[in-house]
Symmetry: C2
Subunit: 243 residues, 2 copies
């Protein structure tokens, strides 16, 4: 994890260092001791003052990733990265499956609106067609993993928000509405800094990274049934694509 931090780039040193330590923890670099190296050692490694390292560690403690104990050191509290397979049969709940005890989808809000150009294109509707929009957060063992904006054709899935709120799962909600099976047609993946809404929904701190997927599901006849823009905390998930 050597490599120097860079100055005068608009990114504070303490944030660069926090990001590097977070990544090192994820990669298992400190698994032997379960602790982050002493502040003086890190300061030397990164070529900065000890106080700068302290700012970085304070940020990580704020995220709940480490806990500093006076006299002992800085203990690693949490270290999670869920694997999320993307396949023809991608389902959030089943996908995370055995990796967490409890999976829940929470409905933050919903509305009926007219499809804009992007949504219409993905759902193969005409622009202005009525669609149901839902804002959701998905949690694994009560830790938010992703939040999503999802659109459904309104004529076919008017009862979606209620069904989702009841079942806490898209798959089960589809089943309630008479769609027993569906397949993932396309997924686009990008990454960006989380915006304010995502930070709040995913309980992240500014500067955090989100993996963004834009995905379209179809029924077995190939008719689009759902278009979703999901934001995943990059620290907590990885995607796997099996071909």
């Amino acid at each position: 994890m050597a490599g120097q931090v860079q100055r005068q780039t608009g990114v504070a040193l303490w944030r660069q260092i926090a990001d590097r330590i977070r990544q090192a923890i994820s990669a298992g670099a400190y698994d032997e001791t379960g602790m982050v190296p002493p502040e003086t050692v890190l300061a030397l490694q990164f070529g900065v003052n000890r106080h700068t390292v302290r700012s970085a560690i304070a940020a990580l403690a704020q995220e709940g990733i480490v806990r500093a104990v006076q006299g002992r050191g800085t203990l690693i509290e949490r270290k999670e990265r869920l694997n999320f397979p993307i396949t023809k049969r991608t389902r959030f709940t089943a996908g995370i499956g055995g990796q967490a005890r409890e999976m829940r989808g929470l409905l933050l809000g919903h509305s009926e609106e007219r499809a804009d150009e992007e949504v219409a294109r993905w759902l193969k509707l005409r622009p202005g067609a009525p669609v149901i929009r839902m804002e959701t957060v998905r949690k694994a063992d009560d830790r938010p993993v992703s939040c999503a904006t999802t659109w459904f054709p309104a004529d076919r899935f008017a009862g979606m928000p209620a069904a989702y709120e009841k079942t806490e799962s898209i798959t089960r909600a589809f089943a309630e509405l008479g769609l027993s099976d569906y397949v993932r047609a396309t997924t686009e993946v990008t990454a960006a800094h989380a915006d304010a809404a995502d930070l709040a929904a995913l309980e992240l701190t500014p500067g955090a990274i989100v993996l963004i997927t834009k995905a379209m599901n179809t029924d077995l006849e190939g008719v689009p049934v759902q278009y979703a823009i999901s934001r995943f905390s990059a620290d907590r998930v990885q995607f796997t694509i099996e071909n």
Copy 2:
């Protein structure tokens, strides 16, 4: 592109704004005029002082993305986000294909070493087996798109570095070494802040995000021939997964 910028996060406002404008340009938000909105308008949009916007634009001008002209406005010079499909037949050169005039792979360095646990697992070798490691950068029209660390079984592909340096492509290098076809077996995707080496290789600024893929290719019998960890500039690419 509304949404406010965030203060006291360790990421300077001018950098947040630069990132947002870069992304808006990529998304085609200013395609009608070919210009970025006036500084005073942006300052109002983001809720910051005009000087802060000027810092952001100066950074983008430094990257060669925009060019400010006194009296006229700020012109968009370049606007790239390459789409990179991930399929069974994923090939970097062909994948980016029609989206750039010229595709090149550059060999930064290589060595023969013993497989560590991770590499051995992916290549289905025993730990300690000899492998060839290559560090490469891939460029589209001379702009770096990704950098990669790649491992090959040493017994089978000893001539890989030389072949890659000559052909500037993994596919063509494999062909030279007698492997005419191969398929993508698995791809893992994550995102993280770029580390110092990636920043240099990809000509990015600190705080930039990289999409990271870990991918394994096999020959047509299913024998692993290549394991690669690639880092893509998140500002310059997106992935598409077709199922």
